[in-house]
Amino acid sequence: MRRKLIITLTTILVVAFGGLLATLVAGNEPALGLDLQGGISVTQQPVGEFDPATLDLAVERIRDRIDSLGVAEPEIIRQGDAIVVNLPGVKNQQEAIDLVQVTGQVYLRPVQGCVGEGVETTDSTVPSSSDATGSTIAGSTDSTTATVDSVTGTTAAPGPSRRVSSTPTTEGATDTTAAPDTTDDGTDTPAVTDSSVPATDTTDTAAPVDAPLTTAVAQSDPTTQQLLPLRGGGQCLVGPAGGTGEVFNNDASPQIISGGWGITVGLKNGAAGEDVWNALARECYNGGDSCPSRRLAIELDGEIISAPSVNVPEFNTDVQITGDFSEDEARDLANVLKSGSLGVSMETVSVQNVSPTLGKDSLRAAVISGIIGVALVLLLLVFYYRTLGLIVVAGISVSSALLYSIISLLSRTQGLALSLAGVAGVIVSVGVTVDSYVVFFERLKDEVRSGRTLRNSAQRGFTGAWRTILIADIVSLIGAFTLWWLTVGSVRNFAFFLGLSTLIDLVVSYFFTRPAVLLLARTDWMGRRGVMGIKPATTGTTGTAAAAAGSAS
């Protein structure tokens, strides 16, 4: 028993202070939230009906953009329907808004020409036969923009073909595979193919426009001609949008189409769907001025997700896009189309600009006053419980060490940031933590007074107190978890830290306080001192009649 207690005590001490040491050595420290560090926080939310995938796409877009600009430690959080982007250290508000503003709108824009993607399209007019593997060269080099191609298979069959296939090659493909795969002829009714092969080297192709290859962040402006980046490398000059993703039904799905991944999506009926799409498709199919490349770009927030060539002028109900997609790429494209089909738009609902000076002041104030507060509490407890109070001091040190290590670790791995509400949550939890000791010691006192030996009292006292602590802490945990799960912003941050502190309280109570007090209670020294002026009964001596007298009857 004693051995076990010593082992437990040693273990928790090693874990807590070892963890703290490791944290300090590794230089981890809690990341500071926006309100403590200064910066800008932008919250966006979709308006109206939306597909859950929309939010994922938006988060991904925002992350891409922020990464491209190298903002330090950005925080992108999805909270329910909202996307909160925290940009610590960013001062220019407009810049920040431009950076993270996404609309979620999908535009269909005729492509003037592309550069840098290697080849695109080869056209395999050749029907069917083309090798699916795409090993054909198509040289990344030459084929500049344009051409479109192939209809696979039945190019000829433009007419009322039920489905259209366009084959965009993956853009992610390594250059070697140039292949425009013309894939699927298998499918009977293919119509549009777009095969853009991404070649890695951007240079060689003749750019249709010389525009700077790197634009910081492309903001979509659907009304004019723009040079936008193509996913997977390269850029395309696209004309004004001829339509939005709303022409499609919300049923885009990745499918295996004649041996490769592709997407099938339905068109809405009538003026809102087919008419718009067909007008665009016809334009591109004919390769007129507005669409010399015969490709149609699917753009989401300033990025061209795919630019398939149009292989038939007329579509009915379904559109098929095929190419050298991997499964993931097909799924991504399908998600983009799905989300675009709802015509959702993201709205910036809140912009908070926290000046760093204010943040620094707040932090210093919180830390200093927190430390003073805790010190006062400890003084009170040492004064009140004397020797046992020292255990509280040690216990709080263990808790703090654990808390600091865990927060630092989460900051590093999960991007958790400590905000003012979080700091306050931790300080508040001091009350709950201290209560565990108070409940335990008060019980211990009762047991001692009723005439038990200290050793016995400690054991019984803990059993009783643990029950209370457990119930009360579980209620706190239920609260913290509900809040964390269902709310946003500072409330959520607060709930997280409250929950974390409560969990640590449970761990420390069981693995530190219990063995520490039980072991202390076994020492002769403690037995002589008594608890708070009440002398415990000692097994051997009957001299302590006082203890018995304490409890009447």
Binding site: Q352, L358, S369, G373, V377, A424, G431, T482
Partner: protein
Amino acid sequence: MSDITTERAADAAVAGGGDAAVTHVRRGLWGRLYHGETAIDFYGRRRWGLTISAILIVVTVLSLFTRGLNLGIDFEGGVAWEVPAGQVTEEQVRTILEDNGVEADSAKIQTLTSDSGSRLRVQVGDQTPEVVQQVQADLAEAAAVDVSEVSSTSVSSSWGRSITEKAIRALVIFLVLVALFISWRFEWRMALSAIIAMLHDVLISVGVYSLFGFEVTPATVVAFLTILGFSLYDTIVVFDKVNENTERYAGARAPYADTMNVSMNQVLMRSLNTSLAAVLPVLSLLVIGSGIMGAVALREFALALLVGLITGSYSSIFIAAPILTMFKEAEPRFKNMRSQHATGVELERLVLGGSPEGHRREVARARRQASVTGAEGEVVIAAATTPEAVLTHPPRPRKKKRR
């Protein structure tokens, strides 16, 4: 009521006399508190607490109806700028607002002071991003500082509404979960009492905000939620003791009020200690953090918490417990024992771990009588077996010797 008073007078007499005989039973108030030997008749005084709370709640409700709550822009939507004060006057700010087509009359302008200088906070309704930018630039110019020194915060009203709705939904779910948990672990009456006490705390905290016109911000909501958590936590610790004593007294047919009184006295020191431990850090946040060091963000938070923590501790003893007692006394097994609860010396004996006498009030009365005349601590115990007591009631089984 007069009955209680006389009893207390008797107690006082005992208290005075007993001191000499048995030193450890009789101490000063602090000594008794310190050693957990108080014998306060909480039950007999339940109306005090309920009355005070009723008054506070009436004031709160009145205030909510007449003054309402001062909701921050996070709930109503709007824009707020903060600019280092000094060069800028309120008049200039209003001019800037009007120049940009913002209605200046409804703008709230306050000065915030901190150790890093004072700042002007300007708050208006929903604006377009362009206006926000322009005003920010103009303010910076007027204050002769860099634009980045001027902070702006804007929240659309729909977002504000959705935050509020989320918080309310979270609250309802939280309450249901907690009620289920307490009902499962203890009993539904305790769940109900605990939740009533908690609503009482939140209501009073909200009342403070309404009465003093403090602005309600998301931090305030966090604070209200903490209050709610703390209030429940505190009540549960008290109820756990009650539950334990209920089991202990189950065989004795003691009035529920006794169980409650004994439990209250037994946890009193714990409640005081815990409340102090919880309040001290918050007080430190409020006085040192926000008062001396001027972190305004802390002030709102700490203030709501302080009020909540105090009412939280208060309500678990003065609201939750009496309400639970009332619920329990409606139960058949406690019904006929209403109005018979131990007070004074008898209560103290119970608090110190003695066995309850059950409903034999006469015995207790006889004992008290004896102790008053005897005026010695030991007599208290001796009195339990006076002939009268034995004669009027069948002898109790002797299992009473617990150790």
